[in-house]
């Protein structure tokens, strides 16, 4: 029988790849038949060219019962199946049952997704180029999941073994389709498509190293070295976490090639051996409430100065966030360290945070400045405070609800980030609507 890929031609449509669905004349009969009946129907349809003795079927599906009971159960199940399948008497009966045997009627119009996939694969052998890609893509789309996924029949070992056998056979075909498609897409320059399919394959088996290797190669073709390196990292992390293994030699070699090829043209921070002490400003953007550990608890690490503040939409006064940070630093950092900041900077910080008074003795700021001059002074003073402290102790500044930050404090963050790439500070900005790009 030749299937044309048009399901409307068929009276009985069965999909076994993924969750089982059985439709007769477009109506689902899954609720009208037992699981055993559905299993029997699938078994017969997949073996549509074979005739089975009733005793054989009885032993497959009712292995634990006596032969008499098993025969009775089979008889009843066949009857109930035929009643539902052949409700329309004008149509060709689906199952032909004789006294001692039964089989699928060769004349019945049946759609089975497995047959359609196999037909497309057969057809693909004659095709090339875009036709081949399209046909394989159709075959891929038919495979909606594992063979009879989630459909397990208790106490039917022979049937279940048959399911495992078919599942593996079809899975191998599906993997073959995916492999062929990635290669075809890659050779046609459709690297993104190829990457998409490779990622689908990794969802099925995240431990298959060759797939990461292919991903790396695809990204290299795209000229996206950073993503290629990221795939290596992804591969090594998952292998380490799941198997405590390093990536295989091929991938390591590929990784080293990428690193070495670009050695001279890359930034210093990618060079694994940097003779100078490593200091780099880091900014972490985190969605609201996604930071699990309370910041206060991180202070347990002696050598990390953690400053945290929360922005509120109701408090939008200029400098509020900066003022909170200054107060936090004064509270937590050693006085000996804070005293290293020149007094004139403390004077400027007094303008927005009164806790700073204690570091400028009696030299409180009396001068009146324009708003811009004042802002520049405060920005520079706070910049120097951060650099003075972080030169001795790594700092983490945690700002919650960043979307509510006052305008001038936000301006300062951008000012600081753009001027201090190598300071020993991590900015953790938690909240929604963060324009991450504006910090780069």
């Amino acid at each position: 029988m030749q299937y044309k890929g048009v399901m409307s031609l068929f009276n009985l449509e069965i999909c076994v790849l993924g969750n089982l669905t059985i439709n007769v004349n477009k109506k689902s009969i899954s609720g009208s038949i037992s699981n055993k009946a559905a299993a029997l129907l699938c078994y017969l349809v997949l073996n549509k060219d074979k005739t089975f003795s009733r005793d054989k079927l009885a032993s497959i599906f009712w292995d634990s019962a006596s032969i008499e009971t098993a025969r009775y159960n089979l008889r009843y199940t066949l009857w109930s199946l035929r009643k539902v399948l052949d409700a329309d008497k004008k149509q060709t009966p689906v199952i032909v049952a004789y006294k001692d045997c039964c089989r699928i009627n060769p004349e019945a119009l049946i759609y089975l997704d497995v047959f359609e996939m196999e037909r497309l694969l057969e057809e693909s052998r004659q095709l090339m180029g875009q036709d081949l890609v399209e046909t394989l893509s159709r075959a891929k789309s038919i495979y909606k999941g594992e063979f009879l996924e989630g459909f397990y029949i208790n106490k039917c070992p022979e049937f279940n073994d048959w399911v495992f056998f078919e599942r593996e056979r079809l899975q191998r075909k599906h993997f073959d389709v995916l492999h062929r498609l990635t290669k075809l897409h890659k050779s046609a320059g459709n690297y993104h498509k190829s990457i998409e399919i490779l990622n689908e394959m990794l969802k099925i088996n995240p431990l298959q190293e060759e797939l990461y290797e292919e991903l790396i190669k695809n990204y290299l073709e795209l000229g996206d070295r950073a993503s290629a390196l990221k795939q290596y990292k992804r591969c090594s992390n998952i292998l380490r976490d799941e198997l405590n293994l390093s990536p295989n030699e091929n991938i390591r070699k590929l990784y080293n090639e990428i690193k070495n090829t670009n050695k001279n043209s890359r930034k210093a921070d990618e060079n694994p051996i940097d003779p100078t002490p490593y200091r780099q400003l880091k900014i972490l953007f985190i969605e609201e409430n996604k930071l699990r550990e309370k910041p206060e608890e991180q202070i347990l690490c002696d050598k990390l100065l953690l400053i945290s503040t929360v922005c509120h939409s109701a408090v939008q006064m200029p400098y509020t966030c900066l003022s909170d940070c200054i107060a936090g630093i004064i509270e937590k950092a050693d006085n000996s360290l804070l005293e290293k900041l020149p007094r004139y900077y403390w004077k400027d910080l007094c303008r927005i945070e009164s806790a700073a008074y204690k570091f400028c003795a009696d030299e409180t700021p009396l001068d009146s400045l324009t708003a811009i001059s004042e802002k520049i002074r405060i920005f520079k003073a706070f910049e120097n405070l951060l650099n003075t402290v972080s030169a001795e102790v790594p700092m983490r500044i945690y700002i919650k609800s960043i979307q509510c930050i006052d305008r001038i404090s936000l301006e300062f963050l951008k000012f600081f980030v753009c001027r201090n790439k190598s300071s020993n500070i991590t900015l953790v900005l938690e909240g929604s609507e963060i324009d991450a790009e504006s910090f780069t």
């Binding site: 999941g145 594992e146 996924e149 989630g150 397990y152 208790n154 106490k155 070992p157 279940n160 073994d161 399911v163 495992f164 056998f165 599942r167 593996e168 899975q171 191998r172 993997f175 099925i204 088996n205 995240p206 431990l207 298959q208 090594s236 992390n237 380490r240 976490d241 799941e242 198997l243 405590n244 293994l245 390093s246 694994p272 051996i273 940097d274 003779p275 002490p277 490593y278 880091k282 972490l284 985190i286 930071l291 699990r292 550990e293 309370k294 910041p295 991180q298 347990l300 690490c301 002696d302 050598k303 990390l304 790594p394 945690y398 991590t426 953790v428």
Partner: protein, 512 residues
């Protein structure tokens, strides 16, 4: 002054070198507010919520257990324990019985299975398990977690990719239910993924109750990563404020970005640089005595370990790696030295978990790096000494070189004690006993130092010494009450001391 709790008429061993002993102690708002000798405590008796006459019992700071696989310990408490079975029939009966108690479809988890202890010396196949539990998926983990055995229902449910290495097949080329290597890793991941959070919570609370009954008030939970599941680490993160005692999480991953994105300050735990003596995978300088073809396994190249350690170090994280054999310890120390040479940091307290067979040179290098040796003295109690596992694997001479605790302390290392539960029980008193009664006498330590392993050194190992680890004014009132003074009983009787009560921040969590 009103206080919340007064303990009096006892011996308070503070582990504070300046004021080592008191007779009474008072707590308020979770902290120690006063302690002293004689009758001074009486001023609080009319102004306290609770007063306890110790009748001569001994108070110590609450214990630390510095290395616990907490979720695994909890889940194992809820699983079918197969470690005691001696034949297949016993296995089948246990599974049959468990299946009869569970609703259809619910997973049966078996743990601790070791076919080498069975008369038959073999593993079951899936058909045998099907017959015992036809209506339930069955998943058995071998004792080393490196092999899984599943029945047909579980295999069906798992949807494994069949091109996976490690699917053991029968004569008909069908999976026989045994899964090793990559297949086992994927099965563990899928199965652990299916365990609902409520079940994890139930197991963890059960394990915590055991910890509390043993006087533990702080646990270093090593979670996630190889043989475990990241979901466990996530569970600990999400629920850390809901536990009755303090849990410091060590997230076992080499993914530094992940650690930073979660705002954590430490990474690792059981990052396996090598394996174990039991499985002959601890990396030794000389071959194993009972198998001269093996010297153990290093799971990282030096370059890989350097790269991981450097990245974590540069990000100001505290790092903990698992290293048992001398080659692994060498690799770990080299990685820490490499990181320090590129990015010098003071007082980072990186850790080596287990640190069982170092050379004298290793101890010196670890000391100069300020390394924390996170050790498990109970290993020596279980496996040290003549005729036991260390001697079988390492021989008579080498087994006398394992766990030289006294040398660690003399060289200035911070030595923190743990149980490695579920491998050995969460029982600090047993750990103290084992360290004092070390089978190699020149490695044994005095009782005071052994107590420090599970108190102040535990605190130092996670930067908590300013808050906990000794009983001093202003520190948290985490305490354990013992029925005898470990400094006064015979060293051979320390393991007979009982925990009478456990107090966390002034609250009595457990009392006999």
């Amino acid at each position: 002054m009103n206080v919340d709790l007064v303990l009096y008429n006892g011996t308070v061993l503070t582990i504070d070198d300046d004021n080592p002993v008191a007779n009474w102690i008072a707590a308020k708002d979770g902290r120690v507010v006063d302690l002293g000798f004689g009758e001074d405590f009486r001023k609080y008796l009319g102004n306290t919520n609770e007063a306890m006459d110790l009748h001569g019992k001994t108070v110590l700071p609450g214990f630390y257990d510095s290395h616990v696989n907490l979720v695994q310990t909890g889940l194992n408490l809820l699983s079918l324990n197969l470690s005691e079975i001696r034949c297949m029939d016993e296995l089948f009966s246990l599974i049959r019985f468990k299946a009869s108690q569970l609703p259809k479809g619910e997973l049966i988890r078996g743990i601790g299975f070791d076919e080498l202890r069975l008369i038959e010396k073999r593993m079951p196949n899936r058909y045998e398990l099907d017959r015992c539990a036809p209506m339930n998926p069955v998943w058995i983990s071998r004792v080393d977690y490196h092999t899984s055995i599943v029945n047909s229902m579980a295999l069906h449910m798992l949807n494994l990719p069949f091109n996976l290495d490690g699917i053991v097949r029968d004569g008909r080329n069908l999976p026989n239910g045994q899964l090793t290597g990559r297949a086992n890793a994927l099965v563990r991941s899928h199965m652990l993924d299916r365990i609902p959070e409520s079940e994890i919570a139930k197991g963890v609370h059960k394990a915590l109750n055991i910890a509390i009954e043993n006087g533990i008030t702080t646990i270093n939970a090593v979670e996630g990563g190889f043989t475990f599941h990241d979901k466990h680490a996530e569970f600990m993160l999400e629920n850390k404020n809901s536990f009755p005692i303090d849990i410091a999480l060590f997230y076992q991953t080499v993914d530094i970005e992940k650690i930073l994105s979660k705002g954590l300050t430490r990474v690792g735990g059981t990052i396996f640089v090598d394996g174990s003596f039991g499985s002959r995978t601890a990396a030794l300088a000389e071959p194993y005595t009972d198998d001269s073809s093996k010297t153990g396994t290093l799971y990282f190249s030096q370059e890989e370990l350097n790269s991981f350690v450097l990245e974590a170090h540069k990000n100001n994280l505290q790092i903990a790696v698992h290293a048992i054999g001398s080659r692994a310890i060498e690799q770990a120390l080299t990685a820490y030295e490499y990181a320090q040479s590129i990015y010098p940091r003071k007082d980072c307290r990186h850790r080596i978990e287990h640190f069982e067979l170092p050379s004298e040179e290793h101890i010196r290098r670890a000391s100069s790096l300020g390394i924390v040796a996170s050790v498990q003295p109970t290993y020596e109690y279980l496996w040290g000494g003549p005729g036991k596992m260390y001697e079988t694997r390492l021989g008579k001479t080498r087994r006398k070189k394992t766990n030289p605790f006294r040398q660690y302390i003399e060289s200035g290392l911070i030595v923190a004690g743990g149980s490695d539960s579920d491998l050995t029980p969460m029982n600090p008193l047993l750990g103290i006993y084992a360290a004092v009664n070390h089978p190699t006498p020149e490695f044994s330590i005095n009782v005071q130092d052994a107590i420090k392993l599970f108190t102040i050194n535990g605190a130092k190992a996670i930067f908590e010494e300013r808050m906990k680890g000794t009983l001093e004014m202003g520190k948290l009132a985490d305490m354990v009450i013992l029925d005898a003074n470990p400094l006064e009983v015979s060293p051979s009787k320390i393991n007979e001391i009982s925990v009478v009560a456990t107090i966390k921040e002034g609250n009595i969590l457990f009392a006999v």
